[in-house]
Symmetry: C2
Subunit: 323 residues, 2 copies
């Protein structure tokens, strides 16, 4: 029996999204489950395997049979060749964790693992904004900044599959502290955690009270709320977005000069505020990118929603590295 689908799974800090995807990239079924990221290393892996089996079960009941391949996307630098996760921002227990081996054992068959930003990039490449292009730089602006680089139709993995850490290029040597331990990384400006730091610094909030207009219902800093504040002409929100846009533009100009891509795709939750960042971003790109290289490229929004990572994980399963 030929399989009519591939399983793609995308694990975030809170949720797991798992889908049945056709060989053409269409999502037939999509289910959401908890990530259980704070459990033990093995329990987190077992939960991933369970979600795969649950989807497979559902698919079987719909007469779809068994999947042709399984792709799993997880955050954090990982060795795509061995399937070992070095560290994962949301899974404290994963330290040099042999995820691929654990999943292969649990599922009784081969599994392809991929970095979540790379999977998302592959999703946009296969079915989204980067469809039909060969050289693409993709940035996902969320809690952090992730990256995926496509050169001549393939993800740049590097020696161990850890390439594409685009959030950790330096854009301001003496700049804001970054969660990675360094200073002045792109992530320290163009992510929600970076913007949180920019607002705190701008308002001198050294543990002090935050303006309610920047907080969600749980009292956490929210870029979505800050975007609403900017729309209501809040000067600080507008200024912080402009600063973020400026550094985003500095990084994008460098990526253009490095890669001469056809397309730069920007996605992730924070990309919803791109309208407030675009002017300062564009000014830096104009000032810093080589003119013929900039003339070659367009900068666009990602077009896939939350299913992007699922679709990309499925693509990774169909095109395993080294094949």
């Amino acid at each position: 029996m030929t399989s009519r689908y591939v399983i793609g799974l995308d694990m975030g800090g809170t949720n797991i999204r798992c889908g049945a995807v056709t060989p053409g990239g269409r999502v037939l079924m999509l289910r959401r489950g908890p990530a259980r990221a704070d459990e033990t290393a093995s329990a987190v892996a077992a939960n991933i395997a369970e979600q795969v089996l649950a989807l497979e079960d559902q698919a079987r009941r719909r007469g779809l049979g068994a999947p042709a391949a399984i792709g799993v996307a997880v955050p954090g630098p990982l060795n795509v060749y061995t399937g070992t996760v070095m560290t994962a921002p949301h899974v404290a227990a994963w330290r040099s964790f042999p995820l691929k081996r654990k999943l292969t054992t649990a599922l009784g068959r081969g599994v392809v693992v991929e970095n979540d930003a790379n999977a998302w990039a592959l999703g946009e490449f296969w079915r989204g904004a980067a469809r039909g292009y060969r050289n693409v730089v993709l940035l996902t602006l969320g809690t952090g900044v992730g990256g995926g680089i496509i050169v001549d139709g393939k993800i740049v993995h590097g020696r161990s599959g850890m390439a594409g850490e685009l959030g950790h290029v330096t854009v301001e040597p003496g700049g804001m502290p970054c969660d990675c331990g360094s200073h002045g990384c792109l992530e320290a400006y163009a992510s929600s955690s970076g913007m949180r730091g920019l607002v705190a610094k701008r308002l001198g909030l050294d543990g002090g009270a935050w303006p309610a207009s920047y907080l969600d219902r749980l009292g956490n800093f929210s870029v979505r709320r800050m975007t609403a504040a900017a729309r209501a002409r809040d000067a600080v929100a507008i200024e912080v977005f402009q600063t973020a846009g400026r550094y985003l533009g500095i990084a994008v100009a460098s990526f253009l000069n490095i890669f001469n891509p056809e397309l730069v795709v920007i996605g992730g939750g924070v990309a919803g505020a791109l309208g407030f960042m675009r002017r300062t971003m564009a000014a830096e790109v104009r000032a810093r990118a080589s003119r013929p290289i900039a003339a070659d490229a367009r900068i666009v929004r990602a077009s896939l929603g939350v299913e992007g990572g699922v679709v990309g994980a499925a693509y990774a399963a169909l095109h395993p590295v080294g094949s």
Copy 2:
């Protein structure tokens, strides 16, 4: 008759080096001629063709027959697919100049053109320090800073073959002016023209007299002379090299995070002063590169001399893009 050699030609601002290279990468013959870079666009191209024919003539007299292929490396962003040179730092007359077409007509057969930094990278990859590696970032520190990126054994060309402008990543947004028109590019610190600017700024030389210890016999700023001054414990020379090393390290850390390479190769005339830059460079790499990615990589000196570009141009001729 099977050909026993390939012609590789490397054009600089002053000289052209042209060599007969075996299919294994050994240089059989090497000749040097003038670049005539200040002549008309067509005359510069005609001169390149003449040098190829002169070498071929010499080779024929030595019983080597005709070359199997011809590779020509020139400075400046060029479209490797069409063979059009967009601009060239040393050839003022080349503006969107169809070099490949002109050479093909003049020589009566196909010619491969490649960017000189990419050719040099291919030389190091084929026969030099990067031999046996698959993922390599190469930086050439000379009058400017050039770059060549090798991913999975191939040069990253990008959409039009202009990728690898590693000298023009931003390392200090509000930094020193760069010859490209931007500010704070790596080239504005880690090239001889950048160091010239750093010394002038440090000494407040606004058109004033330069210390003789920094000048060559023609009265021009010389990194080689500055290196001698640093060896004699000249405080300004040491400080400028440390500043250059710091920014080189900032850029190298970004390249590591972007590419996860096995090797970073640093060459070019200014690399002779690497000893004075290494400490500050290493400190930035330690502080800014992802730890597992840095653990994967070594930073080494280039091992080929002036023949590197010739050997690489020959390699490019043997492995044309798109084949």
